[in-house]
């Protein structure tokens, strides 16, 4: 990564008009150097004000900086410059989802889906939005939400009645889904949505929870200590599981496109969230 950044910086220094600023800005963003990434993107925009990808980059940097309103505006600009830009629709849908403006998010995500019906992240995000709308969350949208996107963020720690949305903040990109199952394989929290928006958490949980029994049994006999995670790669997905207190099980399912290391990071974050939630319930 550092080598890439150095190489791209040198290339841009040699030719300041080069479009390489897009790659450099993205590399800096991914590396968490957001101030530098912003500087590179803004300088690039000075030279290429009508470059849709430059506005797209700026929007993604803005999201990482927590500036959702700015991100929305930049993606809106992208949409005006390049009406068929998929990333702009996804981004605007994402911002609106984060703001709890589900019906508007649905509009943009539906447009994204029309642009690319094969995009799994769009399908999953759209399914999540529809579930929210069905749950009545859409009805809670305030009248003033149309005048800005500064809405109160969701409480950091979900309450008991928010079991289905326990992992939503971790799953904000829609690339994975998480379930918390009890010792009998029944769903305690989370959702597992198919691309058509059906929640099949109960079915998937029931089928996969037996695997953890097998893992526990194996560990008892093999002397390798306690099991800490089990990852199953399949033709369609990657499923990672981790044991929880009282023989409960945390399960994360992700697209095959998601790097395995990232799946485990997500699993760790979900375990942490679920532990907090279970502890809250025990108090």
């Amino acid at each position: 990564m550092a080598d890439d950044i150095r190489r791209l910086s040198e290339e841009l220094a040699r030719d300041p008009a080069s479009p390489v600023y897009l790659q450099l800005g993205e590399a800096l963003r991914r590396g968490g150097q957001l101030d530098l990434a912003l500087k590179v993107a803004l300088r690039g925009l000075e030279r290429h004000p009508h470059e849709a990808d430059a506005h797209d980059l700026l929007a993604r940097i803005a999201v990482d900086r927590g500036e959702l309103e700015r991100a929305f505006d930049e993606w809106d600009m992208v949409r005006r410059i390049a009406p068929a830009h998929l990333g702009a629709r996804k981004g605007m849908g994402y911002v609106l989802f984060k703001q709890g403006r589900y019906s508007e998010a649905q509009t943009y995500l539906s447009e994204a889906s029309e642009l690319d019906g094969e995009d799994e992240t769009v399908a999953t995000a759209l399914a999540m939005v529809r579930v929210k709308l069905r749950e009545g969350a859409g009805g809670a949208e305030s009248a003033d939400s149309d005048h800005g996107i500064q809405r109160p963020q969701r409480a950091e720690r979900p309450q008991r009645h928010q079991a289905s949305s326990l992992f939503d903040e971790i799953n904000e990109t829609g690339e994975h889904t998480a379930l918390l199952l009890d010792a009998t394989g029944l769903v305690m929290a989370g959702t597992y949505l198919t691309q058509d928006g059906r929640d099949v958490a109960q079915e998937v949980g029931a089928e996969l929870s037996g695997v953890s029994d097998e893992a526990r049994r194996a560990m008892r006999h093999l002397g390798l200590g306690n099991w800490s995670s089990l990852t199953v790669e399949t033709d369609a997905a990657v499923v990672a599981m981790a044991p929880m207190r009282d023989d409960a099980l945390l399960l994360v399912a992700a697209s095959k496109a998601m790097p395995l290391g990232l799946v485990h990071r997500v699993l760790d974050r979900c375990v942490e969230r679920a532990n907090g939630w279970l502890g809250e319930g025990a108090r």
């Binding site: 089928e207 093999l222 089990l230 990852t231």
Partner: protein
């Protein structure tokens, strides 16, 4: 006793942190061939790892996730990795600090070369 599978399993066992490589019949959990470090409980690993792989495969199919390509069990003192083909399961038992990314890649390559 050496078989034509032994070189493939030996190459896997030479990977850093690997304690043993076993090729196991998925249905009955019996060892087809294996190369292991001294003291490793081969038959127990074979039976339990094959059973775990089988359970994962059947559960994933039932949950609509398709066929299983790789299963990794991480424990506090080691890893058990399995990959299957034609009712055979390739099993690797490795130390906790082993490079699982490399082992996974080598296992999937080895599986392509396995024929009986």
């Amino acid at each position: 006793m050496k078989t034509n599978l032994t070189p493939i399993l030996s190459a896997l066992t030479r990977q850093r942190g690997v304690r043993g490589s076993l090729l196991v019949d998925e249905t009955d959990g019996v060892i087809i061939d294996a190369t292991m470090h001294v003291g490793m409980k081969g038959p127990a690993f074979a039976a339990l790892a094959a059973s775990l792989y089988r359970k994962a495969r059947l559960s994933a199919e039932a949950a609509g996730l398709g066929g299983v390509t790789f299963v990794r069990l991480r424990a506090t003192e080691g890893h058990v990795c399995t990959a299957g083909k034609n009712e055979m399961v390739l099993v690797i038992v490795a130390d906790v600090h082993a490079n699982i990314g490399l082992i996974r890649m080598e296992m999937l390559k080895a599986l392509e070369r396995l024929t009986i």
